[in-house]
């Protein structure tokens, strides 16, 4: 066990692509926790998807042994955090497990929306922030400007902060020295009743749930009975230990100030919620650690197997994903159009995309997803308040006394030349301008209050396209606000297709309706009969398109008795047909659903 004064617990926070993972790699290498030869690029991010997207989805932690030039031996616990707004709560819990944070800033980009959002989170958690200016090897690097920004915008001293190139391995020792020098050692009483913070967990088929904890007070060892204070469940600890670059390392005990893991034959991550406090069953602490929140899904969508017979495979996939992701919720749902599927709840859009992609990749399932929805708060005429996350369950207009939708505070940082376009975009998405700040002469920070349902479709894409990729976005839920909402139904050949219904603000209903009808027209193959596509609010049709009937599809040549050609042609046609979805009397390609989801206002 390391002497408490030689422990440093810290996170690395950064805007996406500012080099967080690369810096982590270098720290591992420099402390010889991992040798260069063993070094797999970006060791911390080991899910394929994370590498491709360059983001960390789940928090990780690793212990580094650092022999400092002063002759002391230090234990540095690096706690990695997710880098996206959807995971803001997870970030805040990871930060709470630390005493300090490295704030990585790309020397050529400067401070961006997530840099700021994460820095504020770190400040809120009373962390010592050590700015690290990265990518100084780039020709466009401007270290001085970054230092000024850190001091002016975040308000922390940046004089003499490390300026490094993680990629080139430049000045990495400076970072380690700054960690030891500037970040305080943990405090906490090893003899007090146990108080440990859960900041992550994952399911292992052999060990059960492996829980990542930071011990705040007390000492924990194998054999003790623990209690999860919020979940209320109790377990007998099987093993405790530290987290090395190569996996779990068993120890006799974990004490105040230390970071490590516990296993206790826990069957589901639902019992080990991030932010919960672990204490001893027979000697509990009085108060849990502050700040616990149950992870609540904000975005919902129907997920259906493209091949209806694979429903149970989809359920297996979701169950397996949920083992490691307590924030994913799902329950069975039936759609007249799509058959059996699940209503899934996600923390946000990115979370949704990641889950959908993992279902397709890791479980080899083709899925159809319905338009994402937020949770609407409806007050009925009879005074009952209901929360609706599925347009199918939306009450008819005459039953609704008042409808409210969730609002968010959006924080957008953009180069000044794109401000006009972005303000138009926010305006178009029903954003209410709150304020605007110049970060420096070239960049602006915009604050908007916006309905969440306006950003769940393609707001992020539109923002990127209007700013040539430079603008960054961060948002958090603010409150429910009264709104004029309507349910828009899509009818094919006169029948409502439940999977295509969605809730939209009254003012936007006509535009969206027209656009969806057009998109569907492009994506519904011609059938033997004419297919009217209609959009309706209540019983009123507000947009209409028609897919003309197919009139000619024939091969009637006589090839001297060669019938194999025609056979092949028909077989191919039959195959194509199998991929289609039958919606009432109409056949629709699975792409039609995607086309409706990926509506781009700019086209």
């Amino acid at each position: 066990m390391t002497n408490q004064k030689n422990i440093r617990n810290f996170s690395i926070i950064a805007h996406i692509d500012h080099g967080k993972s690369t810096l982590a790699d270098r720290l591992l290498e420099k402390t010889q926790t991992v040798s260069k030869r063993e070094m797999e690029e970006q060791l911390l991010d080991n899910m394929d998807l994370e590498r491709e997207r360059g983001i960390t989805i789940k928090a990780r932690a690793v212990k580094l042994d650092y022999a400092a030039p002063d002759g002391e031996q230090y234990t540095l616990n690096l706690i990695d955090t997710p880098g996206h707004v959807d995971f803001g709560y997870e970030v805040s819990r990871s930060l709470n497990a630390c005493e300090g944070a490295l704030l990585v800033i790309d020397a050529s980009q400067g401070i961006e929306a997530q840099t700021l959002a994460n820095a504020y989170l770190a400040v809120d958690s009373n962390l010592e922030i050590v700015p690290v200016i990265n990518k100084i090897d780039l020709p466009s690097a401007d270290v001085e400007r970054c230092r000024r920004e850190v001091e002016d915008i975040i308000g922390i001293p940046a004089e003499g902060c490390p300026a490094v190139s993680a990629k080139a391995g430049l000045n990495i020792e400076d970072v380690l020295e700054a960690v030891v020098r500037d970040i305080p050692a943990p405090t906490g009483d090893p003899d007090a009743p146990l108080k440990a913070l859960i900041f992550d967990s994952y399911y292992d088929p052999y060990l059960g749930v492996v829980v990542y904890i930071r011990v705040m007070d007390g000492t924990l060892s194998a054999g003790q009975r623990i209690r999860m204070m919020h979940a209320g469940s109790e377990f007998d600890v099987v093993e405790v230990g530290t987290l090395t670059a190569f996996g779990l390392h068993k120890e006799d005990s974990l004490s105040a100030g230390e970071v490590g893991y516990i296993t206790a034959s826990i069957k589901t991550v639902a019992d080990t919620q991030v932010g919960d406090t672990v204490t001893l069953a027979d000697n509990p602490t009085d108060e849990p650690l502050p700040g616990f929140k149950k992870a609540l899904p904000m975005v919902f969508s129907g997920v259906y197997p493209a091949d209806g017979s694979r429903y149970s495979d989809l359920r297996d996939a979701l169950e397996k994903l949920q083992l490691n992701d307590a924030s994913l919720s799902f329950e069975p749902e039936t759609s007249a159009a799509l058959g059996f599927g699940f209503r899934c709840g996600f923390l946000g859009l990115l979370h949704m995309e990641i889950i959908q992609e993992r279902i397709e990749r890791e479980f080899n399932l083709d899925i159809i997803t319905t338009a994402p929805s937020v949770i609407y708060k409806i007050t009925r005429r009879d005074g009952e308040v209901v929360y609706i996350d599925n347009p199918t369950g939306y009450p008819s207009p005459d039953e609704i006394e008042e409808a409210a939708e969730p609002m968010i505070h959006a924080n957008i940082i953009t180069p000044v030349e794109f401000v006009g376009g972005i303000m138009d975009l926010c305006q178009d998405r029903r954003g209410v301008f709150m304020d605007m700040k110049y970060l420096d002469t070239t960049r602006t920070e915009l604050h908007y209050e916006m309905p969440l349902n306006e950003i769940i479709y393609d707001f992020f894409d539109a923002l990127k396209s209007r700013s040539k990729g430079y603008a960054s976005l961060d948002y958090e839920f603010s409150e429910y606000k009264r709104s004029k909402l309507v349910k828009l139904d899509i009818l094919l050949n006169g029948d409502i297709v439940d999977a295509l219904s969605f809730i939209v603000h009254e003012e936007k209903a006509y535009g969206r309706a027209r656009k969806i009808c057009e998109k569907l027209k492009e994506n519904i193959p011609r059938q033997l009969f004419e297919v009217p596509i209609q959009a309706a609010i209540g019983g009123k049709i507000i947009a209409r398109e028609t897919v003309k009937a197919m009139r000619k599809d024939v091969l009637a040549k006589c090839y001297g008795g060669d019938i194999t050609r025609k056979k092949k042609l028909l077989e191919k046609q039959k195959e194509g047909k199998k991929k289609m979805r039958q919606l009432g009397s109409v056949q629709v390609t699975p792409e039609a659903f995607m086309a409706v989801l990926k509506m781009d206002d700019d086209d």
Binding site: L528, M550, L555, Y559, T564, L570, K574, K577
Partner: protein
């Protein structure tokens, strides 16, 4: 005694048409033609013994343009057929030809050899359309050749026309048909253009402008009406005839009766097996010259399910359609209700509207 048809592929023509992807070699290589006819004769000799008690009641000499073969070669070929296979007294013996490759004298020889039906490529009466197709003749030449065939004693003449062609209009197609009807052929085939990949048309891609879908449909519908009014009844999706002049050989294909195919790219259906020869005249000739049988390209013994699918796919090309059963009635319920199909006693058949979208419906009906 079993009845069977004989198909002989003659893969020679003067020039490839822009839409054609049949196997044929353009030019006038008489030496090759001669070797080929000899090879065919050898082939027939070898197969003769394997035919058992089968009698041939149809013969179809297709191509290519078999009409361009010399009188000597035609004689060798016909003698080969008659020497090796038992033909029925009333066998239908068809030969395909094009305008301006045979004259009255040659037609007389053909008639004398026992050929009793000619199928002539007309395609269109419009010069601009013929040119686009890469046809070497004019309408005038077609009409002349047609007259020569009549004078030579042919009383069963068929002509091919095409629709849905580049530069073709509805008016132009109907004019073509009126001019053809005036010549009073016994049989008319009308095929829609299908752009095949490895043809000049196929290579033109987007640059090839065809009549739009509605016009193509109207072409088929109006042509059908005109032909019916003029005494040509549609007995198959693309074939029209005066009563009693339906092509007996082509009917074999749709009725799944046996046929023996000879020559490269020819197809056979014998004893429940479908097979074909590869598209190479060299391989075919060489094998037979060396005393071997040519290698077979594909060889498929049909399963009962496949045979059933074929019955539907092929039988529904006929105006008489196929015999119905409960399963089929259920599957075709909506097609019947919306006028794509009709009941004819205990049979079910496509209507004109149904013929036009028959691929879509067949893909639905097949197992």
């Amino acid at each position: 005694m079993k009845r069977i048809g004989l198909y002989i592929h003659i893969p020679f023509c003067l020039q490839k048409c822009a839409y054609c992807d049949f196997y044929s070699i353009p030019g006038r290589d008489e030496a090759l033609q001669k070797r080929y006819i000899n090879a065919l004769t050898l082939h027939m000799k070898t197969l003769s013994a394997t035919m058992g008690d089968r009698v041939f009641d149809t013969v179809y000499i297709g191509g290519g343009t078999p009409g361009l073969l010399s009188v000597e070669m035609l004689t060798t070929l016909m003698n080969g057929i008659k020497d090796n296979f038992k033909l029925t007294e009333d066998a239908e013996i068809t030969l395909e030809t094009n305008p301006a490759v045979a004259d009255e004298a040659k037609f007389r020889v053909m008639r004398g050899l026992g050929i009793n039906r000619l199928s002539m490529g007309m395609q269109s009466s419009e010069q601009a359309v013929l040119k686009t197709l890469g046809r070497l003749h004019t309408f005038h030449q077609f009409a002349e050749t047609f007259g020569e065939a009549r004078r030579a004693g042919f009383d069963n003449l068929s002509a091919d026309v095409m629709y849905a062609l580049p530069r073709q209009t509805l008016k132009g197609l109907l004019e073509t048909l009126r001019l053809l009807i005036a010549l009073s052929p016994e049989h008319i085939s009308m095929y829609g253009l299908k752009v095949e990949e490895n043809t000049p048309f196929g290579r033109m891609g987007e640059r090839l402008t065809l009549p739009d879908e509605d016009t193509q449909c109207e072409m088929y519908e109006r042509a059908y009406e005109l032909l019916e009014e003029s005494g040509y009844h549609r007995y198959e999706i693309s074939n029209f005839a005066r009563s009693g002049y339906e092509s007996r050989h082509n009917l074999r294909y749709w009725r799944r009766e046996e046929y023996l195919g000879l020559g490269p790219a020819s197809h056979s259906f014998v004893d429940g097996v479908r097979y074909s020869y590869p598209r190479s005249i060299e391989d075919y000739i060489t094998a037979l010259e060396q005393g071997r049988l040519p290698e077979v390209d594909s060889h498929v013994t049909l399963t009962p399910a496949e045979a059933k699918d074929e019955e539907i796919m092929l039988g529904l090309r006929l105006s008489d359609g196929i015999v119905i059963n409960d399963d089929l009635i259920e599957k075709c319920k909506n097609y019947l209700r919306y006028g794509f199909m009709e009941r004819k006693g205990n049979r079910i058949a496509f209507t004109t509207k149904g013929f036009l979208v028959s691929n879509t419906i067949l893909a639905d009906l097949l197992e």
